[in-house]
Symmetry: C2
Subunit: 333 residues, 2 copies
């Protein structure tokens, strides 16, 4: 019989198929081959993007020329623009506002066909450090309230460009999904005086069956209330609200576990599409809150969201996370 | 500049690209060709499904044989099963329950390649009447709290079988998405003493620019706060909480506007994938609530949900609904 599971943070239910669980080979998913052609993110095509905001590059090279390793540029077709103040108005029963915010692109590598598993460890550390630096820079803008870093990889994940890149969006308000997550975490803290994410790490490390990998500072696991088959969360073991306030000594461990995660997924499913998101507390000039704990949510695109999910907010999960974690642990690296 | 719009019911924000709106030909979407092969929903293959629950058929034919026009069967791989009572338990910080509920399939037509636009008007009325009858039957089961009718059409919409069919799921609780919609509608009613959906119909019919079609009892429009390009809502003009308590004289008008909607979308985009959902109030033995108004939400699959949407709950809408409605109105039928 199917098992219903309820997420303790936002109250989301999922239906886990424990009767006829799907094996990795049961999923019909897209695997991409890298195409050639002109790519604006490739080495030598720097003039095809807006001027760079920041880069890690050979000090003997000029901005917007080759010689870089990580490069940050404004999104050429931004969802939001940095100019102006937020102005809200009513339109009958509706509300409208102008689109203030930032929308940047972090080009992870000059190589079109190198994803995170193909990079050297120190290159991944540099990429993570640039992600943090961009967030720390935008935090200074008093109009901005929330920063989201996310990666869409492959067409099924919504990537419009093939060259591996991460996006940063800074918003003038805390959007609905993080607001719900924060509220749920705060309610739990008020009731128990403990961080729900710290409790989750503790329970997962005790039960072990959903753990994929751990190192000194991070742990990766398939969450008990996964929404998607082979969903993976990467969480710092030590409580910290903000992704961007990570300590420099944490970068090597995060780089290792992120590389390990994507490598395992790609060994199982080939070059499939995926999204990952850095969940972090909203912008504030403080040392963080006791109730919120930053983490990465990684979602391989193996299934499609359909009418049932749209209509209910429930998710149908064909592979129990316990089994997914087992498959991922057993990957030969 | 992009325009941010806020949904007055659930507080969802969308970012509408009013600067560089996408035209219908700008979307890269899948269009399916019907395949041949053995289909369990086709005429003559009745033995390939579980025994039928209900059907509209020639009275001289036996159940589970040819001679039917609409046929309802249990889902062969149900997400939930009808046996047993709901039993919840805690697993550390998590909650678990068994999966009680109903999962039925309504086969809309015996013809593999006939979608709603290809049916006769009275055939669509019969299909709608069967949808209502199944809901009215399941309402009697005291364990069930919410019924969702939805259609996944085409692979991008999550359909695993090609033959046109609608699904019914009955749940032992009111799930997150409808609960939020109900709460928002109730809050609005408490503040204004008016139904927000009645107000929406009134405003749309006054402003006209998002209306696609109307008849005596129904109106179709692209909602001001669309989440998806070319999203369409079909709403009864007269207040009524429950889809399944529609009056028989409403079926012909609903059949006409549903056929008109899908025909227009398919003229613009070919045989693309889509989802639609019947949003209705939860099960109750009453005449309905003042604050909730049933309606259909129709979503053509032209874009993919990506990291930004997952991370924020915001949606990026490349075609403003005003423009989408104009394209849909101008379709030559």
């Amino acid at each position: 019989m199917a098992e219903l599971r309820r997420d303790p943070i936002v109250g989301r239910w999922v239906i886990v198929d424990t009767d006829n669980p799907s094996k990795p080979e049961d999923f019909e998913h897209e695997t991409s081959l890298f195409r050639s052609g002109v790519c604006p993110f490739c080495y030598g095509n720097e003039a095809m993007t807006p001027p760079e905001i920041e880069s890690i590059r050979d000090p003997n090279t000029a901005p917007n020329t080759p010689g870089w390793q990580v490069r940050v540029v404004p999104n050429k077709f931004p969802a939001l623009r940095i100019e102006g103040d937020l102005e809200r108005q009513g339109i009958g029963i509706y509300d409208m506002s102008n689109g203030v915010g930032a929308h940047e692109v972090l080009i992870e590598t000059p190589y079109h066909s190198k994803d995170i598993p193909d990079l050297l460890d120190h290159e991944i550390e540099d990429y993570l450090a640039v992600c943090c630096r961009r967030a720390l820079d935008l935090i200074k803008d008093k109009r901005l309230k929330y920063i989201l870093l996310f990666k869409n990889y492959g067409p099924s994940a919504g990537a419009s460009l093939e060259h591996p890149h991460t996006q940063l969006i800074a918003l003038p308000l805390v959007p609905k999904n993080p607001a719900e997550e924060l509220k749920g975490a705060q309610d739990y803290f008020e009731y128990r005086e403990r961080c729900i994410f710290c409790d989750m790490v503790r329970q997962e490390m005790q039960e072990k069956e959903r753990i994929i990998q751990e190192n000194k500072q991070f742990v990766s696991f398939c969450p008990y209330v996964s929404r998607f088959p082979f969903e993976i969360w990467i969480m710092p073991k030590k409580h910290n609200s903000y992704f961007c306030r990570m300590q420099p000594q944490e970068f090597p461990d995060l780089a290792l576990i992120l590389k390990d995660t994507i490598t395992r997924v790609k060994k199982l499913f080939g070059n499939l599409s995926y999204n990952f998101l850095m969940h972090s507390a909203p912008i504030a000039n403080d040392d963080g809150v006791e109730y919120y704990h930053w983490h990465i949510e990684f979602m391989p695109k193996l299934t499609r969201v359909a009418g049932f999910e749209w209509g209910t907010g429930f998710y149908l999960v064909p592979t129990p996370p316990e089994l997914a974690a087992k498959y991922l642990r057993e990957v030969q690296l």
